[in-house]
């Protein structure tokens, strides 16, 4: 099959959706399918096979959903895209966040092949979806099959577009890359208990709560260390908090290359994901589970679709740093419990292997192609709406 994967986000900056696409591309290629990736990019070197990557549009940063989306907003991509689509003759075009302007929407409008859309995002409400419903509905009609990465992501889309059927296929994790037994960062392996945070330093990831919790737990578990992997707009504030309260043993690792990240997981004892909401899935949780780390996480819908509290994790209420501190202390003092949670976590991660996820997605591709064949002739309704905009 010839598959085109379309991302709305800047491919040069790290993020869950682009990691998903990158892994999916590799996995499909491994299974013998021809893949191409379409994405805007702020840099030419995107660390991906350039023969299979189309760089379309320049991304700009737009604050959305307590985070920053780097998307391209130019609606003049149509000619470029139309030429590539005609040239490549895809069997399936797979849109990630299909209703995100401008690249996925433009391509969706122009595509004449089987279209599959994956919805990654979750939020409590979305003004764009609410008011944009009449405009977006015709675009959605162009999708032959829809996928949501988790139950909350599905519920979120269905809240605004109730009749649109969605399969839930979770994100995957590369079990060859994320596994226990890799070389740790050796100087971080000492008598201290390491608590690991991985994520962009932005408000919704809840690092502020974790820092407060760490400060509260220090007198009770003095031999502990907090490792913060990730960079982001809050870096300065995090650093000043650490300096102001003289928090000892905090390692700000900054942006860590993908090849080194698994080794950070292997250097940790507890993984903590304190997001305050608006997470649809939490790929970092899968990475932690696959490495066999016990998880302390907040009860946000996206995380709860992955975690089983008590079996692989301890969960606390979002934004409640006291509860977070208490859970960390309990887990830090109980190696037996950590071991039990970790064993289950690692066993469970097998369910999320990329082979499994990819085969489910390919199943959906086949369904979409069948649906395309059953369709009468293509209509021009959508392009009419686009010009009306």
């Amino acid at each position: 099959m010839r598959v085109g994967l379309v991302s709305p986000y800047d491919f040069a900056s790290p993020g869950g959706v682009n990691d998903h696409i990158r892994n999916m591309g590799v996995q499909l290629q491994r299974l013998g399918h021809e893949t191409r990736i379409f994405a805007p990019s702020s840099r030419a070197d995107v660390d991906f096979d350039s023969a299979r990557f189309y760089r379309i549009g320049t991304p700009i940063a737009i604050p959305v959903n307590d985070s920053v989306a780097r998307i391209t907003l130019s609606f003049h991509l149509a000619n470029q895209v139309a030429a590539i689509i005609a040239d490549e003759r895809f069997d399936v075009l797979h849109f990630h966040e299909p209703l995100m302007p401008a690249l996925p929407m433009t391509m969706l409008r122009l595509s004449t092949t089987a279209n599959v859309g994956t919805f990654h995002a979750y939020a409590r409400s979305n003004v764009g979806y609410y008011y944009g419903r009449p405009l977006l509905q015709p675009y959605l009609a162009h999708l032959h099959r829809g996928i949501a990465v988790s139950e909350p992501a599905r519920a979120f889309v269905n809240r605004y577009f109730p009749d649109f059927p969605l399969h839930v296929i979770p994100n995957g994790v590369d079990l060859d890359l994320y596994r226990p037994g890799l070389a740790p960062i050796r100087h971080l392996r000492d008598e201290n208990l390491n608590i690991l945070f991985v994520g962009r330093l932005e408000k919704r990831k809840g690092l502020g709560d974790l820092l407060r919790a760490y400060r509260a737990m220090l007198p009770r578990v003095p031999r502990s260390r907090l490792i913060i992997v990730g960079d982001g707009p809050l870096r300065g504030r995090v650093e000043s908090y650490i300096a102001r309260h003289r928090l000892p043993n905090v390692v700000m690792a900054g942006y860590v290359p993908e090849s080194v990240k698994p080794r950070y997981y292997n250097s940790a004892d507890i993984f903590c994901a304190p997001a305050t909401g608006a997470e649809s899935f939490g790929i970092v949780l899968l990475e932690a589970l696959a490495t066999g780390l016990p998880v302390v996480a907040t009860e946000v819908p996206g995380y709860m679709s992955v975690l089983e509290p008590g079996k692989d994790s301890v969960t606390v209420q979002p934004k409640n740093w006291r509860e977070l501190a208490a859970s960390l202390v309990i887990l830090a003092r109980d190696p037996e419990m950590r071991r039990r949670l970790a064993d289950y976590a690692q066993q469970k991660a097998g369910r999320y292997s990329w082979d499994r996820v990819a085969s489910e997605v390919i199943e959906v591709y086949h369904e979409a192609r069948v649906a395309l064949k059953a369709e009468p002739a293509t209509t021009l309704e959508v392009s009419g709406v686009h010009h009306a905009v």
Binding site: D47, I185, L188, R189, D190, A253, G254, P257, S259
Partner: protein, 292 residues
């Protein structure tokens, strides 16, 4: 004093980090020129060392000046690389590193007892080991604990981001080095300077200098092959790493003599590296008695 050194370093580093690579190098070249003119100790010490390493420079003042100037410039560029490391996307820089003698590394790996890379303070070793670590295999650096503490922490976190473990020259550090080698990893260290003050006097460029026997002792204990490696900067600001043939420390029953023999063999290789690229050997420190 220590706190101020750290603050000054951090200010310069945050500035350099934000510059494009070419501007950072331009700044480095200017800084190197000033340091070369005004440094009270570094230049005389470096020139002393260069004269020992390359006896032909003893009479040729002009050539000595030229090489020491180039040396300062390369050293400053290496510092610029280091300062840019926190925001550099090293994983995409594999193309900038050329490696020769890879077959020696493969041979060392085939022994199955880890690899102890023995090098000297030459070239942008920070950046080269970072590229190596982020794109090829885990690396540990067995190195001194610099003062002040905050600066050392910065060094350690910057390197750790790229997967380099930094192990100190103390008992705990040595234990971790042994662990790393037992798990078949690569540990890098340098023997051209005696940092702990426990070196054994042996000829280095024909004159007695204290040289650490630690790497040879570890190699004897674990059977790890010693791999002499040097790296240097090429004309176009890319990097070249060069691995020499393996040195295998053999035990004859007299540990000290065995250590000395292996270390001497390593030193001959390292002398060869330095003679080939004296303008990149950044050691403005006292190595031989008689230096300032």
């Amino acid at each position: 004093m220590g706190a101020w050194t750290w603050r000054a370093f951090k200010v310069v580093q945050s500035l350099v980090e934000r510059l494009p690579r070419s501007s950072a190098y331009a700044l480095a070249v200017i800084a190197a020129r000033f340091a070369w003119w005004f440094s009270p100790l570094a230049r005389p010490r470096l020139e002393y060392n260069l004269k020992v390493a390359c006896p032909e420079l003893q009479d040729d003042v002009e050539a000595l000046r030229r090489i020491s100037r180039q040396n300062f410039r390369n050293h400053a560029k290496a510092y610029a690389d280091l300062m840019q490391l926190p925001s550099m996307r090293v994983e995409t820089m594999r193309a900038r590193l050329k490696v020769t003698g890879l077959e020696n590394l493969e041979e060392a790996r085939a022994v199955g007892k880890g690899v102890l890379v023995v090098s000297c303070h030459m070239g942008s070793y920070e950046l080269v080991s970072a590229i190596w670590s982020a794109t090829l295999a885990p690396v540990s650096l067995f190195a001194e604990e610099v003062e002040p503490r905050a600066l050392f922490e910065w060094y350690r976190e910057t390197r750790a981001r790229l997967g380099i473990s930094v192990l100190t020259l103390d008992y705990g550090g040595i234990r971790k080095v042994l662990d790393a080698l037992r798990e078949q990893e690569m540990v890098i260290t340098a023997i051209d300077r005696d940092i702990t003050g426990t070196g054994y006097l042996m000829p280095f460029f024909g004159r007695l200098a204290p040289i650490p026997l630690g790497p040879a002792a570890i190699a004897l204990r674990l059977g790890t092959p010693l791999l002499p490696v040097c790296c240097y900067r090429l004309q176009d600001d890319t990097y070249q790493a060069e691995a020499g043939p393996l040195v295998l420390a053999k035990s004859t029953g007299n540990p000290r003599a065995d250590q000395v023999r292996a270390t001497q063999e390593l030193l001959r290789r390292i002398e060869g590296f330095i003679e080939g690229h004296p303008e990149q050997w950044h050691v403005p420190h006292r190595i031989w008695a008689g230096s300032k």
